[in-house]
């Protein structure tokens, strides 16, 4: 049996190398485990509640993870590159506030959406500038901008609310394409495919992995590290903008407390999806599965009227498992090698 990973190692993160992957190696991946857990949770939900297996109910259930998942894709790339973006939820608040202001000024849906996306891009560019050009650490930068962005929307709105959205704006977060297939689901699928292609099928994606594994090595290989990082923050800004459009449309109103605390749930999704928090490894498929898993568990427990705190305990345990399992496996494997 060949070794499943190449020998480029740093801080325990490996660059997965497809050429050396064996059948066993493929099966023993984090994603496989996630598929099993998702299937299991789906099965248990079906047994536990007579209401679970209903097209409309499942359609409703997708609302509780899609917006977060869309941001999680972009944040996954940021984390793989060895950085982090904690300002995503605050970005939603600011973008949503600007959209509310534009809507209140009487503009129609396309302009509202355009304004929201531009705001989120600007927020992303600001983060990108401070991290990539100025060279500050992304944790510090995005914790600061987290307060900054939400602070601005508190200054604009205070304890008031924007709710003058035109009826056509409700299409994004409340509309259906056909039957129970929502507009949000279409966004989710298109964006998931986009990020999958970007990370796994393009040179840009390979560059992200290399930067996450070894910045210096990447720079010496001719990769424009700063430019890639700047683009990643732009992307995570834009993804927050899309999420802001969907969420604002779903709520039909904006308050500065919108999406409060989402940054942690997004990072949870990413890490649960098997992305190494130290950077350098992870897949989009993993993030998709993790988001579906969190959505199913939340909805399933909701149907049983289990208080949400149990859900927090569940994700907490899962997260610890994510971090502990690979280490234990590694320990056992190295131990068995020694005894041989």
């Amino acid at each position: 049996m060949s070794i499943a990973f190449s020998n480029v190692r740093r801080r325990g993160a490996e660059i997965p190398n497809k050429l050396e992957m064996t059948m066993m190696g493929r099966l023993a991946r984090w994603e496989t485990l996630l598929v099993c857990v998702v299937a299991l949770v789906f099965f248990l939900n079906t047994i536990a509640s007579p209401y679970f297996l209903d097209v409309w109910n499942l359609s409703d259930a997708t609302y509780n993870f899609i917006e977060k998942a869309i941001i999680a894709f972009a944040v996954a790339l940021v984390i793989i590159s060895g950085e982090i973006d904690l300002s995503v939820a605050a970005n939603i608040a600011l973008s949503s506030t600007i959209m509310g202001a534009v809507a209140t000024a009487g503009y129609d849906t396309p302009i509202i959406v355009g304004a929201g996306l531009l705001t989120s891009l600007a927020c992303g560019a600001f983060n990108g500038f401070l991290v990539a050009k100025v060279g500050l650490h992304s944790i510090i930068v995005t914790i600061a901008t987290m307060s900054l962005f939400r602070g601005i929307s508190y200054i604009i709105l205070g304890d008031t609310v924007y709710k003058n959205y035109p009826d056509s704006f409700a299409w994004f977060g409340q509309g259906y394409l056909f039957d129970a297939f929502t507009v949000e689901m279409a966004f989710f699928i298109v964006i998931a495919v986009f990020f999958w292609m970007l990370l796994h099928k393009t040179v840009f994606g390979r560059q992200v992995y290399v930067i996450g594994n070894n910045k210096t090595c990447a720079a010496f290989s001719g990769i424009k590290v700063q430019r890639v990082k700047f683009s990643l923050f732009l992307l995570s800004g834009l993804a927050s903008g899309v999420a802001a459009v969907l969420l604002t449309s779903r709520l039909g109103s904006t308050r500065p407390s919108i999406a409060l605390g989402w940054e942690l749930e997004v990072v949870t999704m990413v890490v649960l999806g098997g992305v190494s928090i130290l950077g350098g490894s992870g897949t989009i498929l993993g993030v998709i599965l993790a988001s579906v898993l969190m959505g199913l568990v939340t909805f399933g427990l909701g149907l049983l009227n289990v208080p949400g705190i149990v859900m927090t305990i569940f994700t907490g345990c899962l997260l610890i498992a994510v971090i502990v399992l690979p280490r234990i496996t590694k320990l056992i494997m190295s131990h068995s090698k020694k005894t041989k």
Binding site: C36, L40, S49, F299, L303, N305, L325
Partner: protein
């Protein structure tokens, strides 16, 4: 893997058992949604709702809510209640507007929606139940003052919050309207403590020192009433000057014990949960339509009349005194 799945299986199986109390088809199922779980006020409301369920028989209460006070958390809860095809949702809203689309969807699927305590915009619910009404609050404050003085004869002063506080000003206006019914009472002055403990304390101190014949300080603010009670104790005027108004049992229990206040009032969360659930039940049963001007009976609490926004005030604030303040102090 196996460990994880075992954990999952046992966890979800245990949950399944919890949820296994599936109701029969005739039972009316009402989802009582709190602003946030783990708050004594809403636990008390649930106690009232269960009381209503016990009284009515064919009523099942599903008490639920988010773990943080967010609209999105409540929307997830609403979605799962819609999915369970409950007959009614009674909710204390975290956001007047953001819940409207989700609740509209619930109403479209035949679910009756009642908001209570903290309301939802009129298009997002059938009925809204306020804990009380401005008129009843104003009356209660005057009545409490009269109860504190001998034969209803005495001089009173009001300690309010800010001069621009809408609620406070309306209540003071209502108190002025109620005063002629209590000819023994004389209103000396109104002072403003800005809902700050320190400023309210100084204003109360000023009242005690400048009006030697003052009998009662009425403060319709939960900050003011505590500060005034403290001032009365510190000035050594317990037994001469009394404090009353609107306050929280947990904050006032000590002052009732010390004698600075004999009684005060605030809404009763148990009655509120009882009434909201009761109204939801009446709507489901078709005994109430939820139309403007309609009078809906709410069991032991009495009845309410809906205004043109289909909202109503439940009852006059509930009076707390030495006999019950300790019990409620543990709730809120």
């Amino acid at each position: 893997m196996s460990k994880l799945s075992k954990l999952l299986v046992s966890g979800v199986a245990a949950l399944a058992m919890l949820g296994a109390t599936a109701a029969s088809a005739e039972t009316v199922r009402v989802g009582l949604v709190a602003k946030v779980l783990g708050n004594g006020f809403f636990e008390a409301a649930n106690r009232g709702a269960l009381e209503a369920a016990h009284e009515l028989g064919d009523l099942e209460v599903i008490y639920t809510g988010p773990t943080d006070t967010t609209a999105v958390g409540q929307i997830n809860v609403i979605n799962s209640l819609i999915a369970q095809r409950v007959d009614a949702i009674a909710i204390s809203a975290n956001d007047t507007d953001a819940l409207v689309p989700a609740l509209k969807r619930a109403m479209k699927r035949g679910i009756k929606v009642v908001s209570w305590d903290s309301g939802v915009a009129a298009e997002g619910r059938h009925v809204h139940l306020n804990p009380s009404s401005n008129e009843l609050i104003g009356r209660m404050n005057v009545k409490l003052a009269a109860d504190h003085v001998k034969d209803g004869k005495g001089k009173i002063a009001i300690l309010s919050a800010t001069t621009t506080s809408t609620n406070q000003n309306i209540w003071i206006e209502e108190m002025n309207k109620a005063l002629p019914d209590y000819p023994g009472l004389e209103l000396l002055t109104v002072v403003y403590g800005d809902d700050l403990a320190e400023k309210s304390y100084r204003e109360a101190q000023g009242l005690i020192r400048s009006y030697k014949d003052l009998d009662v300080i009425v403060s319709p603010s939960s900050v003011g009433i505590v500060a005034a009670s403290q001032a009365v104790s510190d000035e050594g005027k317990v037994g001469e000057v009394f404090v009353t108004g609107l306050g929280l049992p947990s904050e006032m229990a000590g002052h009732v014990k010390s004698g600075a206040s004999k009684s005060f009032a605030i809404w009763n969360p148990i009655d509120l949960g009882y009434s909201a659930t009761y109204i939801a039940y009446e709507l489901v049963k078709g005994k109430a339509k939820g139309e403007p001007g309609e009078t809906i009976s709410i069991g032991r609490v009495g009845s309410v009349t809906l205004d043109d926004q289909r909202s109503a005030g439940m009852a006059e604030p509930f009076v707390y005194d030495a006999s019950n303040v300790e019990e409620f102090a543990e709730i809120f």
